[in-house]
């Protein structure tokens, strides 16, 4: 039997879609953003929904247009209209998902062998989003001539993904499915509520659009057509409202701190807690211990535990930002930055004063980096103004330097102290 798959346009559109994926991968993808952490690999592959969804919607628009033009939907068949439609549309869904899988496979190069898994909810959201775009193309193909349906399906798919992603009203992003693309660093995990909202919205819309694309407008069964259309419209409004409501507090990206229960800690001083992905190649614990010793010798008190977390550091725990495969300079930068607050210095109402605080913050971080890097890397600070500031601090005695740093660190975020100044040169 000849393959019916050959007759599906999605098979042919697969080729340009894959070329697009490869070109995008070669031009714009930065492996540093995701390599070595499976949830990040999968979530970063969401950007390729642009290709898979366009394949899905344009191919289903063509298939549905063909079905409509050939009058098959109006023939008295023993198969339901829905089944006849799905019979033509399923390759669009499957092949678009294949594009997504191939994109994921390309992104996963360099992560093989690393422990971990990709969240199932993320894959569910990809399938749902693609299904929605298949249904979108089907509606356009059903009601418009092919010459209009195909370009419109391309524009509609691209606009929906790109537009919702770029608007500052965050809940809207969760409807399209691209919001996960900025998730996740090693110290973050995916908030499943984000993709869950995407799944609910996309599947609801997929069902509604599919129902609209197989709707029979004539005949005895067409009685109550107004009721059906009204029901579909109300369901669309209800699904959209519900999803926006669920996503109202999710912020710009569906991330949350990764559970520290997954980390295992060394019995050293300080104790360094590593996630499973950080063991083996480029394990940063020895580097951190060495840097910690350097700072202690310089007179800086290092918390007893070093973790990789997006939470703020406390007196007992230093929370570093993390990526797998960090280079020594990245580890040191992350380690010393963890002594400061994420925003470096608070804004206390005066722009000039804030500039002064930022300079002091930069000098403190540079000084910490300078001291932590002894016997590890050479000349870690290259920023000239910071280098000048550090030299001013270094005019103090070694104990005086440590005291100046320790005293000014908490002041960076304390607005009750009006001006922070470098030691006089």
């Amino acid at each position: 039997m000849r393959s019916f798959l050959r007759t599906h346009v999605a098979v042919w559109l697969l080729i340009p879609a894959l070329v697009g994926v490869a070109a995008y991968y070669a031009s714009f993808v930065d492996p540093q953003n995701y390599r070595g952490y499976w949830p990040a690999v999968a979530s970063n592959s969401a950007i390729f929904l642009l290709f898979s969804c366009i394949l899905a919607s344009s191919s289903s628009a063509i298939e549905m247009s063909r079905l409509q033009r050939s009058g098959i939907l109006d023939l008295p068949s023993t198969r339901t209209r829905l089944l006849v439609t799905l019979d033509r549309l399923w390759p669009s869904l499957v092949l678009a998902f294949l594009v997504q899988l191939l994109a994921f496979a390309m992104l996963s190069l360099g992560t093989w062998g690393v422990p971990g898994f990709t969240p199932i909810i993320l894959w569910s959201s990809f399938v749902s989003v693609i299904a929605m775009h298949v249904a979108l193309g089907a509606v356009l193909g059903r009601y418009l001539p092919m010459a209009a349906a195909v370009p419109l399906s391309l524009v509609a798919s691209y606009s929906w993904l790109g537009f919702t992603w770029s608007v500052p009203f965050f809940p809207l992003r969760y409807l399209s499915g691209l919001e996960v693309v900025t998730c996740c660093r090693l110290d973050m995990q995916l908030d499943p509520l984000g993709p869950f909202v995407t799944v609910v919205f996309s599947l609801s819309l997929a069902c509604i659009l599919l129902a609209l694309s197989v709707l029979r407008w004539r005949g005895r069964n067409a009685g109550g057509i107004t009721t059906r259309v009204a029901f579909l419209a109300l369901t669309t409004v209800a699904a959209t409202s519900l999803c926006l409501f669920i996503a109202r507090d999710l912020g710009a990206a569906p991330v949350m701190p990764r559970s520290q229960n997954e980390a295992s800690c060394t019995e050293t001083n300080p104790s360094v807690c590593l996630f499973p992905e950080q063991h083996g190649k480029r394990d940063p614990s020895q580097l951190i211990i060495k840097a910690s010793d350097n700072l202690t010798r310089a007179g800086i008190e290092v918390p007893s535990t070093v973790r990789f977390s997006i939470n703020a550091s406390t007196s007992s725990t230093l929370n570093m930002a993390a990526r797998p495969y960090m280079k020594p300079e990245e580890v040191l930068h992350s380690f010393t930055s963890a002594f400061l607050s994420p925003q470096l210095a608070s804004y206390c109402g005066d722009a000039d004063e804030h500039q002064s605080r930022l300079l002091v913050a930069s000098v403190i971080q540079g000084w910490l980096l300078d001291r932590a890097s002894v016997d590890i890397i050479e000349d870690p600070v290259s920023d000239p103004p910071t280098r000048v500031g550090i030299e001013q601090v270094e005019q103090l005695s070694p104990d005086g330097q440590a005291l100046w740093v320790s005293t000014n660190l908490p002041r960076l975020t304390d607005c009750s102290i009006s001006v922070l100044e470098l030691p006089p040169s």
């Binding site: 019916f4 007759t7 599906h8 023939l75």
Partner: protein, 248 residues
């Protein structure tokens, strides 16, 4: 075999195309003759369950009513094949795939439909075109593809709506020959507005106009009607006189 019982149908609220219309079709070949707008296509679409009467019912073998249950509808649709006037093949399919697809639409499995499609194409003399794209076929060939689609699922009722419209005389003759190849026991109902299409291979001739049956009998009775009948038929068909002449 298939029967319209007191059926009424209209496309708009202004005028009923058929009103209280009843007609039963048994085995053998029947031709429905009528001018354009007589209601022939509507009649066939109703019989095929492509349209639904606003009142009355269509039954197969006395009991199978497509509106009674899903099972009955499936049974009805599997038994009845309908070729509308305009056939638009699915663009990406070859001739054989198109025939097999029609079988699948009528409930056959893909493999069974594919297996049967070859012999159906043999019957309509399109075997050599099996692998050609269906959309490249001529109008006459497309109708033969449609007929093969009816044969592939072994329909017990075949409804052909104006199958020879737009065909040249040789293609029309060829289609006439094909009708004779349809297995015995199959009810074949052909609609036409061309008196030239009425020939002695039809066991029954029904003449309708404006949704009313004007004549129902054999071709001989039709040709040898009373002078009053002939006047009436003349009014309905300008070409009727030519038919008489050709028969003589």
């Amino acid at each position: 075999m298939i029967e319209l019982q007191n059926c009424t149908f209209s496309y708009s609220r202004k005028r009923d195309v058929l009103q209280g219309f009843s007609l039963g079709i048994g085995g053998g070949r029947t031709v429905i003759l009528g001018p354009n707008g007589a209601g022939k296509s509507t009649l066939l679409a109703l019989m095929a369950n492509a349209l639904e009467p606003s009142s009355g019912r269509v039954v197969l073998d006395g009991t199978c009513d497509p509106h009674a249950s899903k099972h009955d509808r499936a049974q009805f649709r599997r038994a009845v094949a309908w070729l509308p006037q305009q056939i638009y093949p699915f663009p990406s399919l070859t001739v054989r795939e198109q025939v097999a697809y029609m079988g699948w639409l009528k409930g056959l499995s893909r493999s069974e439909s594919w297996a049967r499609s070859s012999s159906a194409l043999d019957t309509v003399d399109l075997r050599e075109n099996s692998d050609r794209p269906a959309r490249g076929l001529s109008g006459g060939q497309l109708r033969r593809v449609g007929l093969a689609g009816a044969l592939v699922h072994r329909a017990s009722v075949i409804l052909l709506d104006e199958p020879t419209a737009g065909l040249d005389p040789s293609q029309r003759n060829r289609f006439r020959e094909l009708l004779l190849r349809i297995p015995d026991g199959t009810a074949v109902l052909v609609s036409t507005h061309q008196t030239e299409d009425v020939h002695d291979s039809y066991e029954r001739t029904v003449l309708i106009d404006e949704g009313v049956i004007l004549f129902d009998g054999t071709i001989d009775q039709f040709v040898q009607g009373t002078p009053q009948d002939m006047d009436m038929r003349d009014r309905v068909f300008r070409g009727y006189s030519r038919l008489i002449a050709s028969e003589e």
